[in-house]
Amino acid sequence: MLTNINPKAISLISGGLDSMLATKVILDQGIHVEGINFFTGFCVEGHTQAIRKKDRQKKKRNNALWVAEQLGIKLHIIDVIDEYKNVLLNPKHGYGQHLNPCLDCKIFMVNKAKSWMEEHAFDFIITGEVIGQRPKSQRKETMPLIAKESGAFEKLLRPLCAKNLPETLPEQAGWVVREKLYDFHGRNRKPQIALAESFGFTGYSQPAGGCCFLTDKTYAKKLADLWQARNKRDYELDDIMLLKAGRHLRPKPHFKVIISREEGENHYLSGYRRDFILMTTLSHPGPVALIDGTPDKGDLELAARLVARYSQGRDAELVTLSVMQPDGTRSQLTVPPLLPMEVSDAWHV
């Protein structure tokens, strides 16, 4: 038996119920636990709320912070945007239903937690994984795979399904009592809900689709379109943030028009005027639009007609727009708005 009298665990906190329960189970065994949460850039946390005006009024919260506060533990939020690119672009185990590389993502996060654990002299890692909970990433076969490929091996404990898995170091060392762990499995969430009730947890979040935008069909389609148009599977944080704002229309393969839908998005898109061509309507109230790509003169005119279509001048004969280049050079275009039938459905990304 190892003789560490004050073992410490680092717990992967996603903001959902399972990691909250797993952490509580270990806290209740008298272990010091701190939380770790990774920001990949795709996390569902409040971006669109921050952008859209109607959502800005809504009270929003970061679920990982909320969970940590409920549990009374510290939370370390780690920016992994750059490192995550390789996970998303080259997933060894492939994608889930959309562009979600869940298995590689889990391995990556456990590996990051392992490095954090080593740097901070912690002893083991906790996750809220449950065998059979997710069809691809949480299966009986993937549990040892994640432990192995992350390099965490026997230092990875899943308190909610530990009894269905071989003993881990914290159990062998006697830091954690195996009998007080759980044997949850499958997609049925009743055991988790019952356990939450027994702990008196209320108001927790249960996202239906998963913890990130990569599981969202529309979002994944926009991301795939971006890669195809650029002929390169790559992205910057601004790219993936912009995919969450405005309507995206691609009239031609080499350029895309991002048109704001309301005031909050007007402000948000205007913030990118140094990176993209910015169009605004002058003769009529209308949206703010960004042009992404390499449009020529004719393309700019087409983009202007499209933007005019979404302005209050849509029925006017002509609409005047301001066109600002990223270097600040301004010009004007006066164009007839596109007719509804001229806006092809296929343009909508």
């Binding site: 921050a50 919260r61 970061n62 912070l65 939020i77 920016d79 402000h267 913030g271």
Partner: protein
Amino acid sequence: MTREWTLDARRLLCPMPVIKTQDKIKELAAGDKLVVTCTDPGVLHDIPAWCRINGHQVLARETKGREITITIRI
């Protein structure tokens, strides 16, 4: 002596302002003050929550137009 620091987290969306605040605070000493300027209203909730769980004190929050400033004592 209290030292005062500033952090510009404008245009960043949550949780980036929280991450920047967390990383900046790691470099500061107990008793220092940090003034964070942001534009995502989510910080009004997230930065105080982060401070509460990590034992720092929010001294003031101010909203002027679209800009929000939060003053923290480390």
